[in-house]
Assembly symmetry: C2
DNA sequence: ATTAGCACTCGATGCACAAGAGTGCTAATA
DNA sequence: TATTAGCACTCTTGTGCATCGAGTGCTAAT
């Protein structure tokens, strides 16, 4: 066998072994596990070279080798093979998702739950961004003598509701009046344009009507803001605390970062690449320097939308996790497409 | 001073000091901090007696004393004084809550957020149980060509919505027909009675109509189940990971337990006592044996409803935390009463 | 290019020892 | 009887030191 090829095989074997056991792997152990016959001395020489290239390190001088993040990178890009999710697992995933396929939000949080359960790491799913969405329809529903619900339906098929309170006794007549007047103003308006200022100007042009139910305007504004905000569903954070590969410090830093909704959302929506694998410092986030992320984008009606991601340790089962994440992204995309446009 | 009284003062001083510093407190240190003059030897004798009574222990033979959970119990029940929340803080809390006082769910999750922020521990809030609630009204709102939203309004003023999909093109006429027929069946039915079997029988009695939109019935069922389920809002779990008083093991056990929604909900709704303080094993939950809970019930319209709680270490600032929790319970109760019955 | 052999490194483990904090006990005292 | 001073005792923490063993790097032979 070519020495160059052997070195790669050795790197692969080291990563595989280390991912499995968590123990630094030495030349002798490796020698036994390989399917070609070379002595441990040869392997030592090769490992020394791989270390020189920055693909391996030693925790200390007299211990086995451990992949560096660069080593993982080569492994992920060139060496490992992603084997598809088994049909049986595929079926289980689809079934679980179908049980929650009424509203997009439920589907997404269920997806995060499933992904976390099968990978045993933490999972996150972002909702599709709504920056191109506009107001399709606004409705009002009476819910009590003094309370009503604003319903906002977006062009993307999302529905947001908000309760509000009136100072006078609500009746369908007033709500209908308001409904008609407001739809004239709002239909077709981009969600991001439904600002307090916009609401203010709408109120003025509604004249007397707007004085009756100022809270309705606030409710609409809140609903629009809510619809325009990218949500994130997070599951299984506490699983990270039980992984032996995380030190206490890394685990809590990671969990703490995951709880910063804005930051993690931004990270996931950063790029439109179908699948990204970020290893350790590649995340550019100090708190995640011991963690790896697999981020897959899902497409709704062939347009790249939200992201579905797994957060785990750098010593992660990349092959299996990538397969699972990609499968879920694909399935969620398909289901959402049906849900929103059907 | 009476020796008996002095012993209690000493216990109080030890708890205060230990809560503040986290260091076991020795006779000498304590001697300086006391406002009455006795020698360290006397204090040693008293401490020995308190230890005999099971109120203090030593981490090891030659270190200072630390309160046992029983010691904390005496401290909480007899010694400490709960000083009310300052008017300034009260104002800040009310203002934050008012910003989210549209729907009960928002109010409750905001309350959890606030409580976690001011105590710097984890906080949880359960929604009022709905076991006595019945269906007040069901409505349907068209949201798309093939989609509609079921709206369920309960006797307690809660509103739940659920999207569903129809195989034919939706129009107001069908929805209205369905609406009228279904309200006849459902109005006044207890939420807990809206079972699949009940829905089934309703479907049959609706005849042909029910065949048109079977998904609507499922949506109603889901909405009712959702309304009947006690929700819990959880905030600041990851703060527990950074507390020096928790070992890694205790912290992750605690966080893991908090993520078991059913278990933590049951614990909070276990009793109707206005304020409970559970210290360590008093929770009867092994995973929480290093943690303490402050649980205050809030009343909606003078009826005991949900609970609002703080989860922290046994070495907790009980006085301040109890004050904060009780104030939030009171305020949330008042606001919710206005929201649901007004 | 590969291998056998060997000296070397370094963490882990166990042990001894000193320092320091804090106790428990005894005997004296108010 | 309650309090106190004094002192021996205990136990943790930290340090130094020798040993062990896994695994390496290097050299010389194949």
């Amino acid at each position: 066998m070519q020495p160059a090829i052997r070195k790669l095989k050795i790197l692969e074997a080291i990563v595989d072994s280390y991912i499995g056991t968590g123990e630094p792997v030495g030349s002798k152990t490796l020698c036994d596990g390989l399917d070609f016959n070379v002595s441990s001395a040869t392997i030592r020489n090769d490992m020394a070279e791989l270390a020189e290239l920055g693909l391996l390190t030693q925790p200390h001088t007299s211990s086995g080798r451990v992949p560096t993040n660069l080593g993982y990178r080569i492994y992920v890009d060139k060496l490992m093979s992603v084997k598809p999710v088994s049909p049986k697992e595929q079926g289980a995933i689809r079934d679980s998702l179908l049980l929650h396929s009424d509203a997009p939000e439920h589907l997404l949080s269920e997806a995060a739950q499933i992904l976390s359960d099968i990978t045993r790491y933490a999972a996150a799913v972002t909702s599709p961004p709504a920056d191109r969405a506009y107001v399709k329809r606004v409705k009002f529903v009476q819910t009590g003598n003094h309370t009503a619900m604003a319903v906002l339906i977006t062009s993307t098929g999302m529905v947001r509701t908000r309760l509000f309170r009136c100072d006078f006794v609500v009746n369908d007549e007033v709500l209908n009046l308001f409904d008609n007047a407001l739809n004239d103003k709002l239909q077709g308006t981009m969600l991001v344009d439904v600002t307090p200022a916009f609401i203010q100007s709408a109120a003025i042009s509604l004249g007397e009507l707007s004085m009756i139910v100022p809270n309705a305007l606030i409710a609409i504004h809140d609903a629009a803001r809510d619809a325009a905000t990218t949500n994130i569903a997070l599951e299984g954070q506490s699983k990270l605390l039980f992984l032996p590969e995380f030190s206490f410090e890394s685990a809590r830093q990671t969990v703490d970062f995951l709880n910063r909704t804005n930051d993690i959302t931004r990270l996931l929506n950063d790029s439109d690449e179908p699948t990204r694998v970020l290893i350790g410092e590649e995340t550019k986030i100090p708190e995640l320097s011991e963690a790896s992320l697999i981020i897959s984008k899902y497409n709704v009606s062939d347009v790249c939308s939200g992201a579905i991601a797994v957060i785990g340790p750098t010593r992660m089962n990349y092959s299996k996790t990538i397969a699972n994440t990609e499968y879920l992204a694909h399935t969620v995309g398909t289901m959402l497409s049906g849900l929103l446009n059907g």
